[in-house]
Symmetry: C2
Subunit: 482 residues, 2 copies
């Protein structure tokens, strides 16, 4: 497929028939991302990037309220520094991009491009944190990271460079540190639900799937129409693992020396892909109004150039300026051409003004999500727009939520579970806390893995692990997953 | 020097005696930046980073008004792509950090960490731009770049990784492209003057000093108290140089194929350093109120714990919440300790409340920049704060402007010029447009170079170049420079 095309060239693949081809076309034809000659990396084009900036600003606002401060640490991590925490380096080193040369000079020590910034940040934390007075220390950065995936890259979902926030906090006690989990998860949940219209399952990762170096990991897992789960924002409680590796100690009030307790947490540009994939349809992108920059496109409808219709359109354009509307007054293309183009690009509401509307002092409102038409008096337009934007936002969330809820299932035996996985369900199953138990699952059903353990657990006593047949330790969702 | 210290430990070096030691101490002790084990890179600590975010937001707001859209391109540039524009690669390749390995795999082609993004962006521009309808194309990104300087790194001024905006615009005609210069330079000038309180000289770089690949470069040059100039934001008109190298063509209205005309422009984190160095003093940082996050610190003064004074302080704290004040109610340190700490960190205004103030329903306001004290009735406090913040902002700009204006000088012969350079002047001199003329200058006075040619030029006819003695082509500022 090419990026050189007419601006309204539609999608030829169907979401329900060939999801992955449909997604690729959507991303390119709606100008959300572009490819370059760097394999596995994408360009974030304006529509996608402005949504990321919106996510950043909204998350940031909420982080500031809980006294998190933004910082910026170097992109590079010397190899020796990265290697200080054993689990961490084991998890990341297969994917690290290494700088070995600068200009014509070979570097004495290889520098990792940060895959995440624990190593470089905690070196400084160990200098900055001295006493209980320095705690809690709550820093965050918005940064680009590189994880050189050798799997097939997918725009937004899996790219070798991506952008995220990384919060890195340090506390005097484990209890205080763990209290942060709910604050952070709630912020991410709010952004996902109220802005991106993405529902999710909140739970704890198994030890096999947790973050490299963490004591435990909480995630929000989402579900896509192709039957696959995808991991969203996460929160890691690190205990004192990194504190011990990077020597981050403080003096308590009674002058004892102790290691700090740490958390890290992140939301990434992956969520853009989840949002595009979840809501969009065979006509193109569908954007939740809360994140759409231009919430309205106004299209004057007139066979000849009718100045009165254009004037009326301009008047409405001004009146609705807070929605950052687009007035499409091009004369070289037909209204139909324009409809296709803006549907492809996902503008939430289209307003049409034709001769009849002009006469009756009305306008036609068309919803992008349902194609529903409403005729509204101009005097009532602003109110109707507000209402319609809310309806679209709610409809997208509710549809996605229904999709997720319909996919949730439960089982306590392997045969039934495999059958349900076949039907693209996310199945809550009893499992033993062992790598073996999860490997067996993946053997039996390629592509399936554990997602997370819901925080509210059904009774587990007496249940057998569906793969090892030994006593189960917890209920955990399993499903096909990215 | 160490980063482990008491929070109010003052500067021991004097700005007027040993500027570079003073600057280093300022940056570390006021917690603006930190060093890591990556040589030449710094950590941007919260005070510095929030100012950068302020610059970003203010610049961004203005760019959006002129229809610039934000994007994000990959960090990596394949070597073959970087090499397409000859002058560009010649200018940058000595400083490029190269990725040669990912995980355990040696890459087939080396990847440059972007020193700037022309190469990677224009590859996409050549796909996206087809017709006059696609122009102007005005994109910008906020990104981190790496230029592996082998000179001595200085925090903010010269670091191997820094953060900047890079605007990359394409137009149908040279005239349209050149019109953008004044828009962009005015935005940068406004941010420098009204926010950072940094005055500058606007002018054109000589061919020797212009951006690698540009037709010409405009800059804003600033002047530091140590007698050195430093280049600030810049605007490059690229003509069709990159368009030809990266094959960016469009069809005109009459169906002819032409190359686009391009500009690039940037403001970087270097300006943080210029601002810190320009305004700060021997007590610590001085911040222009327009960029200070916490504009006020409130210090209750009471020998014992006087609950009434604390209550009054809290009341004022609430009343002044829009200035994001700090209430320093620590009981374990003295008021004097607190004064030193907040002076070191550069809070623009300190408010003291003592027993006498409580009784008289007043507060004491102390300006960080002049140490001037004012006693104000509480009823008048907000008004007085507003006024004082404006006075500080103006005072900082005026002082810096006076410093710059006093440094500006003019000369039309070499001996006099060298004499003035010795006195740390920036000297406007007639020069021939040749590399030789500039090399001779640098030979005669180590550390001096051409800064820029003011847009309004004095008459040049009949003037001789001060170094080659041949007919001069222009008046240009020369000075010691970073």
């Amino acid at each position: 497929m090419t990026e050189n095309k007419k601006s309204n060239e539609g999608l030829t693949a169907k979401k329900e028939e060939n999801f992955s081809e449909w997604y690729q076309q959507l991303i390119l034809k709606a100008e959300l991302a572009g490819y370059t000659s760097v394999s596995g990396c994408i360009v974030f084009r304006p529509t996608a990037w402005q949504i990321w900036e919106k996510i950043r600003d909204e998350v940031d606002k909420r982080l500031k309220k809980i006294n998190v401060k933004n910082v910026y640490f170097p992109l590079f991590i010397p190899e020796s520094l990265l290697k200080k925490e054993q689990e961490h380096v084991k998890g990341f080193s297969p994917e690290v991009a290494w700088v070995t040369q600068a200009g014509n000079t070979k570097l004495q020590e290889r520098l990792a491009i940060r895959p995440t910034s624990e190593a470089i940040m905690y070196e400084s934390y160990s200098k900055w944190i001295r006493s209980w007075r320095d705690l809690p220390l709550k820093y965050n950065q918005w940064s680009n990271v590189v994880r050189w995936e050798f799997k097939h890259p997918i725009p937004f979902f899996r790219t070798r460079e991506f952008v995220f926030n990384e919060g890195h906090t340090a506390f005097a006690t484990k209890q205080e540190a763990e209290k942060e989990a709910i604050q952070i998860i709630n912020i991410y949940k709010e952004i996902l639900e109220d802005y991106l219209a993405i529902p999710g399952i909140i739970g704890k990762k198994t030890d096999k799937e947790k973050f490299a170096g963490a004591e435990y990991t909480l995630t929000i897992e989402s579900y896509l129409p192709n039957g696959k789960a995808i991991q969203g924002p996460d929160f890691h409680h690190d205990g004192q693992n990194f504190a011990k590796a990077y020597n981050i100690k403080f003096k308590t009030k009674d002058e004892k020396e102790e290691y700090v307790w740490q958390n890290t947490w992140a939301i990434s540009t992956r969520m853009l892909g989840v949002m595009f994939a979840l809501h969009s349809d065979n006509k193109g992108v569908v954007l939740p109004p809360q994140v759409a920059q231009n919430k309205i496109v106004i299209v004057p409808i007139s066979s000849e150039k009718d100045k009165k219709i254009l004037d009326q359109s301009k008047k409405i354009f001004k009146q609705l300026s807070k929605y950052d509307p687009i007035l499409d007054d091009r004369s070289e293309v037909t209204p139909g051409f324009k409809f296709h183009e803006w549907e492809l690009k996902g503008i939430p509401i289209r307003i049409e003004i034709g001769p009849k509307d002009l006469k009756s002092k009305q306008a036609v409102i068309i919803r992008r999500d349902t194609s529903e038409k409403k005729i509204t008096k101009i005097t009532n337009l602003q109110k109707q727009i507000d209402l319609t934007l809310k309806e679209i936002q709610n409809n997208l969330f509710n549809k996605a939520n229904k999709l997720l809820k319909n996919a949730l299932d439960k089982s306590d035996n392997l045969k039934d579970t495999l059958n349900k996985l076949q039907k693209q369900k996310l199945v809550l199953v009893p499992l033993k806390n062992s790598t073996k138990a999860e490997e067996l699952l993946q053997e039996k059903f390629k592509g399936a893995k554990t997602l997370n353990m819901p925080l509210k657990q059904p009774p587990i006593k007496g249940k057998k692990c569906i793969t090892t047949n030994q006593p189960a330790d917890y209920w955990v969702y399993v499903g096909k997953s990215y």
